[in-house]
Amino acid sequence: EAGVTQSPRYAVLQEGQAVSFWCDPISGHDTLYWYQQPRDQGPQLLVYFRDEAVIDNSQLPSDRFSAVRPKGTNSTLKIQSAKQGDTATYLCASSHDRGGNYAEQFFGPGTRLTVL
């Protein structure tokens, strides 16, 4: 079984540039999470989806960040106008619904973003 894949693995931008991150979850996993992990911090949830629906995006900076999962499979996270404060690793994780029971999340390798 293939794991969660993410691309690109690294990105370096100037402030004001746009960037997109792509995530392919494990096949059959209906829930997909995007996290931002600044250096020496824990992952912070940005947004998560159940199938194609956004369940919670309250931590997503809505003026510059957007996330979609149009067919309930792959997902794209986009930063419209990057700032130096966006420098972080962006992690994607997926899980399979277990009818209300806790379901383990499987993480991708992450995308390391540096904004100069």
């Binding site: 829930t31 999470y33 996290y35 020496d40 911090q41 824990g42 992952p43 912070q44 949830l45 998560y48 159940r50 369940i55 919670d56 690793t89 992690l91 994780a93 619904d97 009818g99 209300g100 806790y102 379901a103 383990e104 999340q105 499987f106 993480f107 390798p109 992450g110 390391r112």
Partner: protein, 117 residues
């Protein structure tokens, strides 16, 4: 305010020693889960063990076990016979029920562990 607190930013041990990493959390949920992960130097996040608030016994997974003190909202990860390969950053995460049967996770800041040969 931090809802998941890992007070030890760093830790160290010698090969073969038992290591204990602490975590405390805040929640008003009746049912919740606490999950421990290790993040490798490559950035990969590896699942280690989890404990639910309904579990009456401390969970164990190989060399990993937890000491769960529900009334104190505290949980410790215990690594027996630590090895240099156990070095990395350990995260405690609180997962609480959320809209429509989903779970919303909150991570601590992590404890960076070095196991010396």
């Amino acid at each position: 305010a931090q809802r998941v607190t890992q007070v030890q930013p760093t830790g160290s041990s010698q090969w073969g020693e038992e290591v204990t990493l602490d975590c405390s959390y805040e929640t008003s949920e009746y049912f919740y889960c606490i999950i421990w992960y290790r993040q490798l130097f490559s950035g990969e996040m590896v699942f280690l063990i989890y404990q639910t608030s309904f579990d009456t016994q401390n969970q164990r997974n190989g060399r990993y076990s937890v000491v769960f003190q529900k009334s104190l909202k505290s949980i410790s990860l215990v690594i027996s016979a630590s090895q240099p390969e156990d070095s990395g950053t350990y995260f405690c995460a609180l997962s609480e029920p959320h809209s429509g049967g989903n779970y919303k996770p909150t991570f601590g800041k992590g404890t960076s562990l070095v196991v010396h040969p």
